[in-house]
């Protein structure tokens, strides 16, 4: 009986995977036929299926971004491209598409340039796939405690064990730093403006001073939330409070 249940579970999992693949292929056909609404619907369904399993897909997010862009919905396109960029930050297609999309937005926000060391460090952790970083972190964590256990046992020569422990600890700290930076990027609280114009105030109230206005498609960082307002910060450092309903968060 147990075996049957396992078999059924496996079969249902395969069936679901083939559904996602079929949606993905139909979405591509709809996009090629310039039926962008249908493509968005199909890709969106496939992405929802994956999300239900706790998974994401760069391909689906990227394609959703392209279809939304073609439809003229720049805010949605920005949202999907930014979600795709979180999965593959160095993907050249996403970079190119985001550059073109940004050139069509009304808000031009200057991003302060980063230093050479910061850029090099970012390039290192972005070029290693996140699951690989997590796997390597687990490996060095394991190695550190294997050496610790062997040292505690007192059965083996201590000198090589101390060396092994030291080297493992150094690598563990390095990989932890990289994985932590990458995890920070993946979980960064950011959102896209989804209203034609959003007014940003100095306090979480519309009766406070109006600081500036931002427009549809602009990327903002989210700092805090209070009584229906969110504290937003722009890449150039300008910040203030705006209505929460004007934004969609990047997941």
């Amino acid at each position: 009986m147990k075996n049957w249940i396992v078999l059924l579970l496996c079969l249902s999992s395969f069936a679901s995977a083939s559904d996602i693949n079929a949606l993905y292929q139909k979405g591509a056909a709809a996009y090629a036929a310039k039926d962008y609404d249908k493509a968005i619907k199909l890709y969106g369904d496939a992405a929802s299926e994956l999300a239900a399993r706790g998974e994401k897909s760069f391909d689906l997010m990227y394609n959703l971004g392209c279809a939304s862009f073609r439809k003229g919905d720049l805010a949605s396109a920005r949202l999907y491209f930014e979600e795709a960029r979180r999965i593959q930050p160095l993907n050249p297609s996403v970079k190119r598409n985001l550059a073109i999309l940004r050139s069509r937005l009304s808000d031009k926000i200057k991003i302060p340039p980063a230093g050479a060391v910061e850029n090099a460090y970012r390039h290192v952790y972005q070029s290693i796939p996140y699951p690989v970083l997590e796997g390597v972190l687990l490996f060095f964590w394991l190695l550190v405690f294997i050496f610790t256990g062997l040292l505690i046992s007192g059965r083996f020569s201590r000198k090589p064990l101390y060396y092994g422990l030291g080297v493992s600890l150094i690598f563990l700290l390095m990989v932890f730093g990289l994985a932590n930076s990458r995890a920070g990027e993946l979980t960064r609280r950011e959102a896209i403006v989804f209203q034609p114009e959003v007014e940003v105030f100095s306090e979480p109230s519309t009766s406070s001073s109006l600081l500036f206005r931002i427009h549809s498609g602009t990327l903002v960082g989210l700092e805090g939330e209070q009584s229906g307002f969110v504290h937003i910060i722009l890449p150039d450092g300008m910040n203030g409070w705006a209505r929460k309903q004007s934004f969609k968060a990047i997941r």
Binding site: A46, G54, E55, F145, G149, F194, P196, S205, G228
Partner: protein, 593 residues
Amino acid sequence: MAKFLLPILLILALPLRATEVTSTVSANPVGTEDTFQLTINVDGYDGDVEFPRSFSIPDFSIVAGPSTSESTQIINWKVSRSISEVFTLSPRKAGTFQIPSFKVQVGGKIYRTQPISVTVKKGSLLSQRPSRPRSPFDMFDDNFFNPPVVTQQPVTADSLFIRCELSKAIAYVGEAVEVSYRIYSRVNIARLGIQELPDFTGFLTEDLGQNHLIDRKRMMINGVAYNTAVIFRKIVFPTKTGRLPLPQPVFSIQVGNPNSFFPGQPIQRKSQSAILMVYPLPAPQPAGFSGAVGQFQLSVSVNQDHVKMGDSITATVVVSGEGDFNTIPLVFPESIDGFRVFRPSSPKLEREPANPLRGKKTWKVILVPQKMGTLVIPGTKIIFFNPVTKKYVTRVSGSIDVSVEKGSATPENILPGTSGNEVVAVGKDIDYIRTGAAPDRFVDISESTWYRVSMAAIPFIFILLGFFLRWRDPSRRDPVEYRRSHAAALFRNRISQAAKFLKKGKGRDYYQQVSKACISYFSDKWNRPVLDLKIDEIARELESREVPPDLIKAIVDVVEYCDFESYTPSNNALNRDIMKDAESAVSKLEKVL
């Protein structure tokens, strides 16, 4: 007493207003050239308010907004708030239209506004804004807060309007037409701005540098003098045929004295409509026609016609005239016999400031002769449609002879191969979607239970395993074997004790501890009682085990020195090196024994 209480009780008995959601317009009817405000208002709300998000209203354009305003009242000691969102709308055409009902969520409950029927008439009906009502507290009526400049210059539809002016009313597909939005005013203007950049559907456009108050002049219309200026202009190229309407952008204008501290109330003006009649290009189109429409001249020249082999010459191709220069490609041969051709990456386009439709487009082509003699740069041609003569025209340039003499370069050392061109980007678009049988999968394994359990369990598992192995260590069960195998570790423990004595300055204890550590090392190693071991005996035993004599001497020296110092205390400083000598000797013995 009752006289005082009655009004208070009456005030307290006033009912609180229930939540009310309404939509209103600032004017009805309105003109096609007017803008007006649509306000969605929520009165007496409690909880979060969610206004409708992105929406469109048929027959109206949203030119600004939403802007939000909020107010709070206290009635019966209870706070009642109202909030509203204001949109600025502009009618698209004349007629009677309905602004639909909007859904507003207040405290989790859905409310709907009533639809509004708006009558739109041609022209402008909202020509004059009502002036600010006089304040009842303005006893002196000195007009200080209502400057006379506004009241003395009533802004009517005739006193301030914007016209869309075309350089020609009829054009062919692809023909360049200058579109200028000119303001006509009989009032002072303090400030001027455009609400939203217009969308030129059906046209390709080219920006012109200066877009503020150019070509200022005084003009008479029906005997009335106006100050006029072009406030926004573009060159447009129609891409389809028929009657193409030009966009009617909305400008925000602040009427008043620009030098005054009170520049007056802001008003909005929509440009008057304009239509461009566009005809198709006549068929058949000649071969080589690139779509250029206008009147052009072509010239090709070289900077020198006598060169040495290997020296470069510059050929300049100039297309001048009036029309759409963007559709004119470089009409220069890609390869010429005897020359290596370096085509430029981009041309230089210069427009005449007075007439931006006129200009010239210049390419610089570098030619390097690869053989001697008289080489010929062949003539070239452009084909375009002339909208004045309504005919396709071909302009031809003559061939140019270049005399090439022997120079420092020879045909052998000039790089061989065909001439190449730089790849030039002619358009920008997003990359294509990703295709394939299946999408990729991204799983954050750090979120998975097994990963977290592994990270948490690994320290416990291996530390406990270490203790278990230590507990099961057979050498620890046999004290003799344990002492033998851990003799060096036990020696180090004793030496660390000696180091503490050294730190405290206890010389006698220090030397005794170092000596004891050395003797105890051999006691542990050979399972002999410490009291039975003398240094002479240790030396003999080491000799019998073929330990190198210098090593034996080293350990013997350490023990004898320590014994001597511990029994004959002196005032000299403690010998720190003896401890290091002992450690070094034991470390070497550990490898031998």
